[in-house]
């Protein structure tokens, strides 16, 4: 790395200085969202205006991008994939064997979901997903990752202490279960196919989809019949 590059960083960080100060109370990256620095609000506004004036970005495109990330993608998409796999054995086979095409059958795919791997949780195997190096996450089916997924505690501990991590999410697994941690180090993106809970035999595909949580598709939770909705 050359000195110039370091210099750029100092410059960028000086600009983000107000932000660094505001976050100083939280040692772990991404933990402190309460103290949003007004300084960064202004700086980002200023940057956006500059880029629009220079013709480097289109403001309406930024609006559409924010709408995409807030409303078009999210765990509801993944929940539909899971519910279909639960009720349609042929679809489940396609999903595990050729996830990109199977997920595309439901209309999902694209950025950060180009190369999918679907891993199935069973009574004997529990899969969980992490990106120890940053924040890789399957956007088309799960949306953008939550703060905890990108945080230092999750990234550091998932590989060395997965059972301790799962315990914090309320999941205690017996030693008989193999815990498989998938580290998203490449351009492959992972989706966990959670176990279908007992007692849901009579439920429709839509009703099943409402049971599937984001956490169960990252592998830090199980689907339980009483938990309605994709809130976590």
């Amino acid at each position: 790395m050359d000195g110039t590059r370091r210099g750029f960083f100092r410059a960028a960080l000086t600009l983000a200085g107000g932000a660094a100060g505001a976050a100083a109370g939280s040692p772990a990256q991404g933990q402190d969202h309460q103290a949003v620095p007004s300084d960064l609000t202004l700086r980002v506004k200023s940057l956006e205006s500059l880029l629009v004036e220079k013709g480097l970005v289109d403001r309406a495109a930024l609006d559409a991008l924010v709408d995409m990330f807030e409303h078009q993608v999210g765990p509801r998409n993944g929940a539909r994939v899971v519910a279909k796999a639960w009720i349609d054995p042929a679809y489940k086979q396609r999903l595990l064997a050729d996830p990109d095409h199977a997920i595309a059958e439901l209309g999902y795919g694209g950025q950060q979901g180009e190369h999918m791997v679907v891993v199935e949780n069973t009574a004997n195997v529990h899969n969980m997903i992490v990106c120890t190096l940053c924040s890789c996450y399957p956007w088309p089916v799960l949306g953008l990752p939550p703060v905890w997924y990108k945080s230092a505690p999750y990234r550091s501990r998932s590989v060395i202490d997965p059972r301790g991590v799962l315990r914090e999410f309320g999941l205690e697994l017996s030693d008989e279960v193999e815990v498989r941690v998938w580290d998203s180090t490449s351009d492959l993106r992972y989706l966990v196919l959670p176990e279908r809970p007992a007692g849901t035999e009579g439920l429709s595909e839509d009703a099943l989809a409402r049971l599937v949580t984001r956490d169960s598709m990252v592998g830090v939770g199980k689907v339980v019949p009483s938990m309605e909705g994709v809130t976590r």
Partner: protein, 219 residues
């Protein structure tokens, strides 16, 4: 690069703190930064691996003290200045330098849906022979490049087993340096947790790391 971004196996960061009913963005500026970063990528002035490297080059203490979107902001400024798309003076003044012609952004609102749907595939349909086969025992190389790599420290030098060959992909280590895509096979490599962490790990547990050919050697 042996940076603090390579967190797998580090200790002392404390408990995980999930937030109930978490919004996608916690403040308007976070969404705008994420959108600006996405839109600027369509100029193709840098590739994604170079983009990641810019984050990893942040000084360690700063990286740990900034939240995710603050890091993104710092990265965007670096990429803009480093690529010459804007100057330091323009950032400071918040106004374009005089006499510069206005550009036409490649990504307009009407193209956002297609931009998302098309994605940015990294698989390459080129005939490259795999070096390893499923079931084969391998060792992750002990490499320590001062530049971008996706071989995490905790796996280096460790023995694993090739579980699956996913085909040919762009190699991030060379791509981030502007040295070409050097397409090669990516494998799921399974490591016994005890090979990585010793006796404290449960005997059945495993960690699966995706690895390119150049990260592996035969044993």
């Amino acid at each position: 690069m042996n940076g603090v971004h390579d967190m797998g196996g580090m200790q002392g960061f404390g408990p995980i703190r999930p937030e109930k009913s978490e919004p996608v963005f916690h403040a308007r500026w976070e969404g705008r930064v994420h959108a600006i970063w996405s839109a600027l990528g369509t100029w193709r002035k840098w590739n994604g691996d170079f983009g990641r490297q810019t984050r990893e080059f942040l000084p360690p203490a700063e990286y740990l003290s900034l939240n995710y979107h603050q890091v993104r902001y710092a990265q965007v400024i670096e990429l803009l200045a480093g690529s010459g798309m804007i100057t330091r003076a323009e950032i400071d003044n918040g106004r374009p330098a005089q006499g510069r012609q206005k550009a036409v952004p490649p990504l307009t609102a009407g193209k956002v849906a297609a931009w998302f749907a098309n994605g940015n595939p990294k698989r390459r349909e080129v005939a490259v022979a795999p070096t390893f086969q499923a079931g084969q025992r391998v060792r992750a190389r002990n490499i320590n490049p001062p530049t971008h790599t996706r071989l995490p420290r905790y796996a280096r030098g460790k023995l694993g087993i090739i579980e699956h060959d996913h085909g040919v992909f762009v190699f991030p280590d060379s791509n981030a340096q502007g040295l070409g895509e050097k397409p090669q096979h990516v494998y799921s490599v399974r490591f016994a947790a005890r090979k990585l962490w010793g006796e404290q790990a449960r005997p059945k547990d495993t960690v699966i790391v995706a690895m390119w050919d150049d990260y592996l050697e035969t044993v």
